[in-house]
Amino acid sequence: MGWRALLTGLPPRERFTAVDDISVAVMPGEVVGVLGRNGAGKSTLLRLIAGIYAADKGAIALSGDVAGLFELGGFGNGQLTGRAFVLRYLQFFGVMKSSWNEIVADVHDFSELATYFDEKIHTYSAGMGARLYFAAATAIAHEIYLIDEVLSVGDEHFQAKSWARMRERLACGAAGLLVTHDWSAVIKLCRTSRVLQAGRVVLDGRSDTVVAQYLDLPKADAARACLMVDEGQIMCGVSGETLHIGFEVQVKHCMRVEAAVSIEALQLGVGWESIILTEFSSVADQPGRYWAEFTVERLPLAPGDYLLSLFLATPPDPGSGVRDVLDARGWTYGNGVTLRVGGEPRVGLAPFAVAWSQGGE
């Protein structure tokens, strides 16, 4: 019987199970993604792990200092200045006094608060508070990071900076849990992911597989036009040389068909980048069989495996601008094609040509 029932004699309100029978283990150097729509129980899960809420059933074991990167900007004491907040943070986590000056300077710089750093937190905007908190929580190395949509703080430059910093922290062997509804963040940061739905884990596995299932994109019926490309097919190219990707397209109706190609680099837990993406170009306007050849001179891709996606679509509807996808191959549909690029190993994603010369005086 709860307090409400004890004090008022009223029956307890209906109970709501936010998180139901979830087990998750995260090892050092690993970030596990938890995807889910609003109300799926993601935030509750994070707060249970952080010890903000107590679980009704089950156990949580953590080894290491926890940095909770959620409810950014929700500070206990708005009377503190940004600087005082950072000092308190350092004291709380038992950071050696000798390194305080350096860390405070780093947070001051990273948070870009300038003179506001010495103003009271209650004068901050939500974004400023979030920047301060993110900068403080990532300035010192924690063993465990609990992240809730954190990387959407600040403008584009600040976000880029935050990603770089988060990666750096995780590369040092921290363990993390990222809850988000942004599937691209999960792909970039997590090797494995879960999908939560109504408090339960409904999908579990490699992030790309989980994301493809989570997205559950409607597969094109390929009834009007289709790609004669097998699922899981491997196409080959060589770095720095001309790439030819040829495939057959069958058009069954009298209609305009356009095609586009996308090449993406995906290293689970490290990064996901679209590297080359073409605009749609015309394939046919008559029924028949066609050979389409996509050519890239001096292929600017480092050796390795890439995700190749092919799309067949109608021209955009003049009113809505929306294309009708006729057929597609791609990892987000769960039927992707691999582009295997050979050549000498190189640093950097895009070895495009650079002409070196010695300039005059």
Partner: protein, 387 residues
């Protein structure tokens, strides 16, 4: 009598409560505006635009200087500010008319025209508090332009309302000024200044910085704003940049991005624009060196790395001055974003010196479907196959 505004040495001082010092919002502003002129005032926030407009509108007085105005001034400062929330659109039109000293009968003659212009549909009979901001702006604009103002002042008017209404409002204002009226516009939209005005005055720190044709003045203004933006970005990420000498006498003295078309140093380049990185390497005379180019995006993604010795012979450090190393990136294949580029000078396989700089890439025609790292040419050929 011809309408005119003549300002001579206008100054406006505000005393700040927190300090004893006086803030000079205007600092000796002089100009003459004649009948039929459409003048746009531009400048960063705090340049004194609003203060100047308040003086012209008679809301405040100049501390120093003289302002003589021939004509009746109508000002729309914040669109919708003068509207009364509990009255309907129609009632507001009548109230506005009376404030302008017009009889009910005179307003009744133009009311259907105003209502049509405002395009509020059935909302015209509902209280103004039920309107969206855009609807209030449309109503306010419509009431004002239909009362034949002599000198019309509009502050940021065109930023509200949808694009189509803004276009209509612009046409209406052109029509007004063609009837020999004076129009004064303050806007952050350079496009609407160029479209609407015959003259543009750029205020900076309470002074007239430039006064002339709208296209020229807005271009000069945008150039300065962009240069300041570049400077701010650079300042912000200064800490990420290096300039190190790891071996005695070796140093990369400069590292700059050059646009081939404009033949000058730039911090911002366009996707597809031919550009060249240029480094000045100072070293021990007669020793040969290799150079490594390392390019990463601000979020840490290593985009590119290449080595001089990968495609050309090593270079030799000159006797007198630094050696210029040119790295021609061709038609820049990078998509929009901010990048940090670093040059390492290698002597016998060891880093002798390095330096990095930052540049921003702008893509005027971004992809609709995503944000690829590269914007790289490709072709698509289709040949029919036998049935």
């Amino acid at each position: 009598m011809a309408l005119s505004i003549v300002a001579t040495g206008l100054e406006k001082h505000y005393s700040l409560i927190s300090s004893k010092t006086v803030k000079r919002a205007l600092h000796g502003v002089s100009f003459t505006i004649r009948e039929g002129e459409r003048v746009g005032f531009i400048g960063v926030n705090g340049a004194g635009k609003t203060t100047l407009l308040q003086l012209i509108a008679g809301i405040s007085d100049a501390s120093v200087g003289h302002l003589s105005i021939a004509g009746k001034v109508t000002a729309i400062f914040t669109m919708g500010l003068g509207l009364r929330d509990d009255f309907s659109g129609v009632e507001n039109i009548y109230i506005e008319g009376e404030l302008q000293g017009r009889s009910r009968e005179a307003t009744a003659k133009v009311i259907s025209e105003i209502v049509t212009f405002a395009e509020l549909g059935e909302f015209i009979d509902r209280p103004v508090r039920t309107y969206s901001t855009g609807m209030k702006a449309r109503l306010a604009f419509s009431t004002i332009v239909h009362i034949d103002p002599e000198i019309l002042i509009i502050d940021e008017a065109l930023s509200v309302g949808d694009a189509r209404f803004a276009a209509k409002a612009t046409r209406k204002m052109k029509e007004l000024t063609q009837r020999g009226k004076i129009l004064i516009v303050v806007s952050h939209s350079m496009g609407s200044i160029v479209d609407m005005c015959t003259r543009c005055i750029w205020l900076e720190d309470g002074k007239v910085k430039l006064d002339g044709a709208p296209q020229e003045v807005t271009n000069a203004y945008l150039d300065q704003v962009h240069a300041e933006d570049d400077e701010k970005l650079f300042e912000r990420f200064k800490r990420e940049l290096t300039d190190e000498s790891l071996m005695a006498c070796w140093r990369v003295e400069s590292l700059d991005m050059h646009s081939v078309a404009s033949a000058r140093m730039v911090r911002t380049v366009l996707t597809g624009e031919p550009c060249v990185l240029s480094a000045q390497v100072q070293g021990i005379s007669g020793s040969s060196f290799d150079v490594r180019l390392h390019l990463r995006r601000l979020d840490g993604l290593v985009v590119h790395e290449s080595l001089l010795s990968g495609s050309a012979p090593l270079m030799e450090s000159g006797g007198s001055g630094p050696t210029t190393v040119r790295m021609d990136l061709g038609e820049l294949p990078l998509n929009y974003g901010t990048f940090i580029v670093r040059v390492d000078v290698l002597v016998d396989g060891h880093i002798a010196a390095r330096r990095s700089t930052l540049f921003e890439v702008i893509n005027p025609r971004p992809h609709k479907g995503g944000r690829p790292v590269l914007v790289y040419p490709s072709t698509f050929n289709v040949t029919p196959l036998p049935a």
